[in-house]
């Protein structure tokens, strides 16, 4: 059984060893020289260069293997020692496996067959281009100890308040103390002065009581009239303000079942909005991504970085890793076996942006045809930890934008002719959306 994989080996070290026992001829000397070379390389190969190994690992292995957890293939931290201790498999087996795993499986090697079956019969790509030196470099990289996790400094006492909040609290307390002292000093000064006055026999003049101010006010009819008008106007202003905001959800920021941070995804990682909201390109709605879109990345990303986790807890009071676990639970993903269990439960996201039924709005018209940036209406989403409605989404707001925005005619044959004619009619260089009919009632209400 052992021979089967040795025969697969390109390296002919064993044959050469046999050669040595023959009589010395010039040919053998030559071969001996080669043997020496292979020997010397294998000597250095024992050590391996973890730096080069890391580069090789990234280009060849990392798309399917992680160091510390199972992915498409098994975890690779200390794989060489683990294989040697648990399975009694040596470097030659590893070389044979990496260079041609399918061949090793076909030869009937028991561990090769076992691991092939364990990983859903996903064949590992053959890497005949990797030399033994490359492999030992990679193994040296995998043998490096796991870096100590950065101990997250989570403030235990003050929850929520970051460094800034604390210092401003201290400032406020100091100011309050200062005012208290000043007030105290004033009271003391006043008292002392009074005592002086008493001792020296100076009469402090007491004001005589005139008509009380409210009586004077009531008697002055003109002032009463002005005040009443003022109060009526002021209350009308507030009543008007109240009625105008009815039905407007600007700033609406519901708590979602999974704390999804747009700041991390769209901001820090720079994922395009349309990656998840792909239907914004082609349909009326900018859809909420189904969970398989999340899993495109989160199949590989089961945990956030230590720093991000610490930041989430201290700044926003959110355990990001727990949120990823919620996703796994909803989509039915078992991270230990890297397989779907089939037990799913939909996530009940809360809808934020919702136009009334009598207004028609089409995302693809704005995103694909007009080329409007998502942020124009949705605000700085890439900075939002929690998503909220940025724009008022009122008719006045829509129309204002249509009046101010020039239509995008570049590379858009659909508009070329009508733009030419209409711009002549209006005598302008650039047509706005309003001049193209963006104010017609029937465009949005029908």
């Amino acid at each position: 059984m052992k021979k089967s994989y040795q025969s697969l080996e390109d390296n002919s070290t064993n044959n050469m060893k046999q050669v040595i026992y023959r009589n010395l001829t010039s040919k053998i000397l030559y071969l001996g020289f080669i043997l020496l070379l292979t020997f010397s390389t294998s000597l250095t190969a024992q050590e391996g260069d973890p730096v080069n190994g890391k580069a090789l690992y990234r280009t060849n292995c990392a798309s399917c293997h992680k160091l510390d957890s199972r992915m498409t293939g098994p975890a690779l931290r200390n794989v060489e020692t683990r294989l040697a201790e648990e399975e009694g498999l040596d470097r030659e087996w590893i070389n044979a496996w990496i260079k041609n795993s399918a061949g090793l499986i076909r030869s009937g090697d028991p561990y090769a067959v076992k691991i092939y079956a364990e990983y859903n019969q996903t064949a590992m790509t053959a890497f005949p281009q990797l030399s033994n030196q490359d492999i030992s470099d990679i193994l040296a990289y995998t043998a490096e100890p796991k870096p100590e996790p950065v101990v997250a400094e989570v403030p235990t006492g003050v929850q929520g308040g970051g460094g800034d909040g604390l210092s401003s609290d201290i400032m406020l307390a100091a100011l309050a103390l200062l005012f208290a002292l000043l007030a105290g000093a004033l009271v003391l000064v006043n008292r002392t002065l009074k005592r002086f006055a008493d001792e020296k026999g100076i009469e402090v003049p007491v004001k005589e009581k005139g008509t009380p101010i409210w009586k004077a006010f009531v008697q002055n009819q003109f002032l009463v009239l002005v005040t009443v008008i003022f109060f009526l106007l002021a209350s009308a202003y507030f009543v008007y303000g109240f009625f105008m905001q009815v039905g407007i959800d600007q700033g609406y920021e519901p708590v979602q079942p999974i704390h999804y941070s747009h700041r991390i995804h769209a901001g820090e990682n720079g994922i395009d909005c349309k990656y998840c909201h792909s239907s914004a390109r082609v349909s009326k709605h900018s859809g909420i991504p189904s969970l398989n879109v999340c899993m495109n990345c989160h199949k590989s990303i089961a945990q956030v970085g230590d720093e991000t986790q610490a930041e989430g807890i201290s700044e926003y009071g959110v355990d990001y890793n727990a949120q990823i676990q919620k996703l796994y639970k909803a989509v039915g993903w078992d991270a230990t076996t890297q397989q779907y269990t089939g037990e799913t439960s939909p996530v009940k996201w809360i809808r934020i942006h919702n136009l009334p039924d009598f207004a028609y709005f089409n995302h693809s018209q704005h995103v694909s045809v007009a080329g409007v940036e998502c942020q124009t209406c949705h605000g700085p989403v890439e900075e939002m930890e929690v998503m909220y409605q940025y724009a008022p989404l009122t008719m006045g707001w829509c129309i204002n934008c249509h009046r101010e925005t020039n239509i995008n005619v570049k590379d858009n044959e659909y508009y070329t002719k009508i733009h030419e004619e209409l711009s002549k009619k209006y005598g302008v260089e650039q047509l706005t959306a309003a001049q193209m009919g963006g104010l017609e009632c029937g465009k949005c209400h029908y």
Partner: protein, 194 residues
């Protein structure tokens, strides 16, 4: 002392009311609507919660109005079912035999390029060298196209079904878009192999 207590009680009431008022101002709830009947659609809107029937029973599981298409139905338009399986054999078959339906006049890198940038470049990198933003952060490391033994057929199969840790992109890209992206990936690979 008695009077002070009374004042304290007054202040407490005011304080409670204030707190209540402020917490109502929080944006966790949608605003009032004036005559909401004009706002609400008669038919189901996208993502709307489904109603219950007259007896109060659920009509749809989880009250979810969104439905999967009935088995065996296909969308309107130029839709063609993809008949190669999501298996290793299917992958090999696609790799060997599947050809792009787009001829040279239909291949438009102006279409495929931006789509590639949205959906693929985040991991695979703008030039396909495996150096996207997520790869640079060591989150997802796909490797360079130059290292991969891929054909236009295997690229399409991978976009359609996913491969290893990569997921399917069939619901984000339609058929012609998938082929445009596959053509663009093949071009990137050709550029990298130069």
């Amino acid at each position: 002392m008695h009077i002070n207590m009374k004042i304290d009680a007054k202040y407490t009431v005011v304080l409670v009311m204030l707190v209540g008022f402020i917490s109502c101002q929080e944006n966790a709830r949608p605003n009032y609507q004036y005559m909401p009947n004009m706002y609400e659609s008669v038919g189901y809107e996208t993502y709307q919660e489904a109603d219950v029937d007259v007896e109060g029973n659920q009509i749809f599981e989880y009250d979810m109005e969104a439905r999967l298409p009935v088995d065996g139905t296909i969308p309107r338009g130029d839709f063609m079912p993809f008949e190669i399986d999501n298996t290793v054999e299917g992958y090999e078959e696609a790799k060997a035999n599947l050809k792009s339906p787009l001829d040279s006049t239909q291949v438009d890198y102006e279409v495929g390029g931006p789509l590639y940038t949205i959906y693929c470049a985040i991991c695979h990198g703008i030039k396909g060298a495996g150096d996207g933003t997520l790869a640079k952060k060591d989150l997802i490391i796909p490797g360079s196209y130059a290292e991969k033994d891929i054909t236009i057929g295997s690229i399409y199969h991978t976009i359609y079904y996913g491969k290893n840790s990569m997921g399917s992109y069939a619901n984000q890209l339609n058929e012609s878009e998938r082929w445009q992206v596959a053509e663009y990936v093949a071009k990137l690979k050709a550029d990298l192999d130069k």
